[in-house]
């Protein structure tokens, strides 16, 4: 399993950006057979005797048993390693969906986040977006906003944001998998081209604390001291350095709050309650102790 686990650097990027991208991760042999099964899942989902999704809460290992192309994809060692790194052992199935955008579709979804407004604890689900065929510009690639996942919003309140600086519209080769923090803002896009666009999205829940489940061989090297401060002393290549990523749509206040939220999430993921970037949490916690005496 270790060979397929994420690195500390990848985990830090996930915390900072809210997603990871794996181009052509799924072999073409599986991709070529996927659309037929995705179509059946779309058409038969609510039929009594067709291809139906697992029940919510099913352990992932029991989802889509053979013969199933979706099951083959979910059981790929690389996919298993991604899921294990982010969710830990024994994740469960939340739901999935076939996202089919027919050729010639000229309207797209409003920007949204899934489910309901988030709790303020740092736990998170992941959503895997699997594109079994190449997606070119203007072919319905998912729109998403890096750095939006830790914002606490009502999902439909994002409708009015037609364009955000730094947003992305997925394009990429067949077999690409995007892995989203469940809070990432996203939307399906128009597909005015001549070919249908297919994508399988699955949401998975953790069942155990998401602490140190990735390949931590590089953790000691990258996990900075809490004193790491952009206006004092910095370790040049560190988790804090990754957390200083400034997304183009973030103003100063948003950026600093974002660093606080990233540090809180990293504390959860590492079990290190003293972790900090740029002294924001440490400063407040140090002063709070003065009045607790």
């Amino acid at each position: 399993m270790v060979g397929n686990l994420l690195t500390t650097r990848q985990m830090a990027s996930f915390v900072a950006d809210g997603y990871l991208r794996f181009d052509a991760l799924v072999p073409d042999d599986i991709n070529h057979r996927a659309i037929d099964e995705m179509g059946r899942l779309r058409d038969e989902r609510f039929a009594g005797d067709g291809l139906r999704p697992p029940a919510t809460g099913t352990p992932l290992e029991g989802c889509y048993p053979p013969p199933s192309v979706i099951g083959e994809y979910l059981r790929l060692p690389a996919v298993q390693g991604i899921i294990r790194s982010l969710l830990g052992p024994d994740p469960t199935f939340d739901h999935d969906w076939t996202h089919h955008i027919a050729a010639g579709t000229t309207d797209g979804q409003h920007l949204h986040a899934d489910a309901i407004i988030d709790s303020d604890d740092p736990t998170f689900d992941i959503q895997l977006f699997w594109f079994p065929h190449e997606v070119q510009p203007d072919e319905g690639g998912t729109r998403f906003v890096p750095g939006s996942h830790l914002h606490r919003i009502q999902p439909s309140a994002l409708d009015r944001y037609q364009h955000i600086a730094g947003e992305e519209r997925f394009t990429g080769p067949a077999g690409t998998v995007l892995v989203f923090h469940h809070g990432l803002w996203h939307a399906g896009q128009p597909n005015p081209g001549p070919d249908d666009r297919w994508m399988h999205k699955i949401r998975l829940n953790p069942t155990q604390p998401q602490v140190l489940h990735w390949d931590t061989a590089d953790l000691a090297e990258l996990h900075n001291d809490p004193s790491d401060h952009v206006f004092a002393r910095m370790q040049p290549d560190s988790v804090a350095h990754t957390f200083r990523a400034w997304h183009p749509w973030h103003g100063v206040t948003t950026y600093r709050n974002e660093q606080v939220q990233r540090a809180r999430l990293w504390r959860y993921l590492t079990g290190d309650d003293s972790y900090d970037v740029d002294h924001y949490l440490t400063r407040l916690e140090g002063r709070a102790k003065l009045v607790d005496r």
Binding site: R152, H163, A165, T254
Partner: protein
């Protein structure tokens, strides 16, 4: 000829009308035969600041109020903070 309303939302990275625009939305109440937003490179806002929009004939309808966050939520991000709403009346 009837006056129709065009509405432009600009979200800035600060509370000033000359702060940099980081998000935008446009709703056109005309029949599409009149001027829309200026042509810019893909991914770039139509105006770099709200002041640029004023200079292009847009009228400011509303600025975001500055409201202190509730206690305990000072470090939580949510929506884009600094929203400016403009209108322009066009004949068509």
């Amino acid at each position: 000829m009837t006056a129709h309303q065009q509405v432009l939302y600009l979200w800035a990275n600060g509370s000033a009308l000359d702060s940099n625009v980081v998000a935008w939305a446009f709703h056109d109440g005309s029949d599409g035969s009149v001027e829309g937003l200026p042509e810019v490179a893909d991914g770039k806002p139509p105006y770099d600041t709200g002041v640029e929009a004023l200079r292009d004939g847009w009228r400011l309808l509303q600025s975001a109020q500055l409201i202190a966050p509730p206690a305990g939520q000072e470090h939580l991000n949510a929506y884009l903070d600094y929203e400016f709403v403009f209108e322009r009346l066009v004949d068509c």
